[in-house]
Symmetry: C2
Subunit: 465 residues, 2 copies
């Protein structure tokens, strides 16, 4: 791809579009915006721009499109696939000043929000109105809702409430040529031509810049109970997952944690937890609703399923503090594991009954290639995050051999009916694996769609394909 | 658009692809496949082909693509926007022989089904396994699930369970050049490049032919209660709709019926119902779940909301027969109304709190243009079906003046944050109204996507745009 390098003339033109506090070429700032949460990657942008309104973005894109300057949009910078890294330099478009909740409409159970609002801030604002926005990625405290849209984000509650796809009604989007459209309507149904809203969700900032988001909200469930089941093997824990659904219960969260992850959380996060020596895996199960009696009935069903599936102990978290501790264990696991070693994270997803085969296969592949892995994730969705740990692996093996192991993991995932990312996206680090999942015809269709929206290829180049 | 007219040479080549019982050029058959449930429209295809497997469809499309023969896919023929009408003649591709349920996977709560399976047949097969596929359009007894995918179908249970979009995991699709792809993966999450599954849903057979469908299934709710609330005005009934959700309850169906619709059902369908003279509108409210106590608690909440919102009487349907009678009233309303007069049906959808303004506006526009309308629909989703009745309107007014009234209805709908079709699609009869909702830029994007999938424009030409 041939892009223009930024000249002082370019910078001068860009500076006319935004005010002086809304762009920078300071080296320290460029470095800050040159990385996200993906491994230890760094790609410097040539300028960081922080626009404050849609018209500015329209002018910026129009200018960059005409001058072939790559534009990389960035949300909270919490991405795990490098989708926000400006790998061709150019303009880094930080959405951090789009941080207003424009309305929470309690008549229609909808909200209109800017993409730079932190997900948890939005969730809390909604809850203050007695409503619920259930899409809570583990990074909810720092990720932006715009980034969630870009990745089609999930989180623990997908298992009952669905991904962000089911909550986004309409998007205001700036196209690469500066045109502004609304993708859909503020309605719960939409059968009026191709669904551009759904196409934009998960497109990782490669088709347009989202500037407003209309979400669906739902009534907030009033009660929940949290259970933690202990298992003697990963496989037993994974096998219990699909048994729970077969018993007719849909938990509001169903998370898997491997022993090694729990050990590292205890070490890193100073969480008090009595980790018995024989326990290899945990399932964390939340059941929510408005009626405690019904929730307890569901707990009993789950309890009996767990017992029949090799669970040795079930802990019921009754108090808010107990619940918070267990949730924190799960939420800080990624950080804890990663603080210990150089790592790579994969985001496999399979039909949930295939989880035992997946986790067994991962461990076998690890033995073959000499890597350790720590797995955890949204087991209720069949979504397993695999943290591959460098540990004692040689630099040569890590840099050369490991990728063949990852290929084998993805081949297994796809063979089990799954795909190579459930919620982290393809971005920069997974794009080499796309051919494991997709035929050339399929990838050609995606590239064709890209060319319709962005004929000059300026928007987030080098991602997905 | 320039398409080839079918010659005997074409027919001979097509006949080599399928067996002799799977195609016809018989005039009576051509007429049968030249209409659907949309008004009284008729467009004759030149040949009707009923393939039995994906490879045949691949060969048929490849041949038609090379010879510029238009191909119009057809499901159950129950469409209300004329999307299955072969308006340029050519090959009518009936999917009726794709009528196998390939698997119901009770481990993963998924099913794989061919597109020619009747929706209700599929629902019943799923229920026999104790599971639930909640997408039940009113035409469920005769529509095909493939048609439902093509239109992004809804039905009464969308209000709690979502549209078909939330249940389709993966699609096998034949592209116009004969290539075959799977659009996604058999997983509950998917963040692996552009979501072609979601793009195909609602694309009305213009991008590819769906040949296999993988659906999500959920546990079947064990209990439900049905309530029927009577109101003195349409507006009062519509205003009560959003009040129910604001009270924190999500019904599994929330349907609006205008008095005139009920009158015609009573006349047409011989349903016994004590229709009080002062009653102008009804809300039919179903609450489902597994726990009758919790359901009754929700009924009490709803009952109190209804009382506060001008509901004069609430009927609780206790027995299966009572429930069936009320559902039948709603389900046969379309047919009853339409059996009385020439009609046009519009499928407006707005944010639900805007329903009172929408229904008032429709009646005002009707007075202005001299038409009567009968409205009913999925009020919980803000989705109102408007049946415009010719009645005493002159042919000239019907053919010339009415369309300006429809334009006003759609302008109102869009001004209220809505769109011109909630679940019936654009097809042939609504395409002239697309510019009310969409800017030229937006339509150009849709046409661009079409050109990527179908550069020769052979698939269902003359629809949507």
């Amino acid at each position: 791809m041939l892009f223009a390098k930024l000249t002082s003339a370019h910078i001068e033109e860009i500076s006319k579009i935004v005010d002086s506090a809304s762009y920078t070429v300071n080296q320290e700032e460029l470095e800050k915006y040159g990385k996200d949460e993906t491994e230890d990657l760094l790609f410097l942008p040539e300028i960081v721009v922080k626009p404050t309104n849609t018209d500015q973005i329209s002018l910026l894109l129009k200018y960059c499109n005409e001058h072939h300057i790559p534009v990389t949009p960035r949300g909270g910078g919490t991405g795990l696939s490098g989708a926000a890294l400006p790998i061709y330099g150019g303009l880094l478009l930080s959405m951090e000043k789009f941080n207003n909740i424009l309305s929470i409409d309690t008549e229609n159970l909808q909200a209109t929000v800017e993409p730079g609002v932190i997900t948890e801030v939005f969730m809390n604002a909604v809850e203050e109105k007695g409503l619920f926005y259930p899409v809570d990625p583990s990074s909810k405290g720092s990720c932006f809702i715009g980034g969630n849209v870009a990745h089609g984000s999930g989180g623990p509650r997908v298992v009952k409430y669905g991904t962000i796809r089911e909550y986004i009604l309409n998007l205001e989007v700036v196209l690469p040529n500066g045109d502004i459209i609304w993708t859909g309507a503020n309605t719960l149904k939409y059968a009026s031509g191709y669904n551009l809203t759904q196409l934009l969700i998960g497109s990782e900032g490669t088709l347009g810049i989202v500037t407003k988001i209309v979400t669906k909200l739902i009534p907030k469930p009033q009660q929940n109970v949290l259970m933690l089941g202990s298992f003697l093997s990963n496989e037993a824990a994974c096998a219990a997952v699909s048994a729970i659904f077969r018993a007719g219960v849909t938990p509001s969260a169903l998370e898997f944690m491997e022993r090694r992850g729990v050990e590292w959380v205890i070490e890193f996060d100073d969480i008090k937890f009595d980790l018995k020596p024989e326990i290899e895996a945990f399932l964390m199960i939340e059941i929510d609703g408005n009626d405690l009696d019904e929730i307890f009935k569901n707990c009993e069903v789950i309890n009996s399923v767990l017992e029949q599936n090799g669970c040795t102990e079930v802990l019921f978290a009754d108090t808010a503090q107990q619940k918070e501790d267990i949730w924190r264990m799960r939420r800080t696991m990624a950080e804890s594991v990663k603080s210990n070693s150089i790592y790579k994270e994969e985001d496999t997803v399979v039909p949930r009954a295939a989880l035992p085969k997946l986790i067994n296969g991962i461990k076998q592949i690890g033995i073959k290639y000499g890597f350790e892995s720590v797995c955890y994730g949204h087991a209720g969705d069949g979504n397993l995050h695999i943290n591959i740990i460098k540990g004692g692996m040689s630099d040569e093996d890590w840099n050369e051999k490991l990728k063949f192991g990852i290929v084998e993991i993805f081949e297994l995932t796809v063979a089990l009916g799954g795909t190579i990312s459930g919620e982290h996206g393809i971005g920069y680090v997974q794009k080499d694996y796309m051919s494991i999942k997709y035929s050339p015809i399929h990838i050609q269709l995606m590239k064709g769609i890209k060319s319709i929206f962005d004929p000059n290829g300026i928007l987030n180049p080098g991602k997905i394909f």
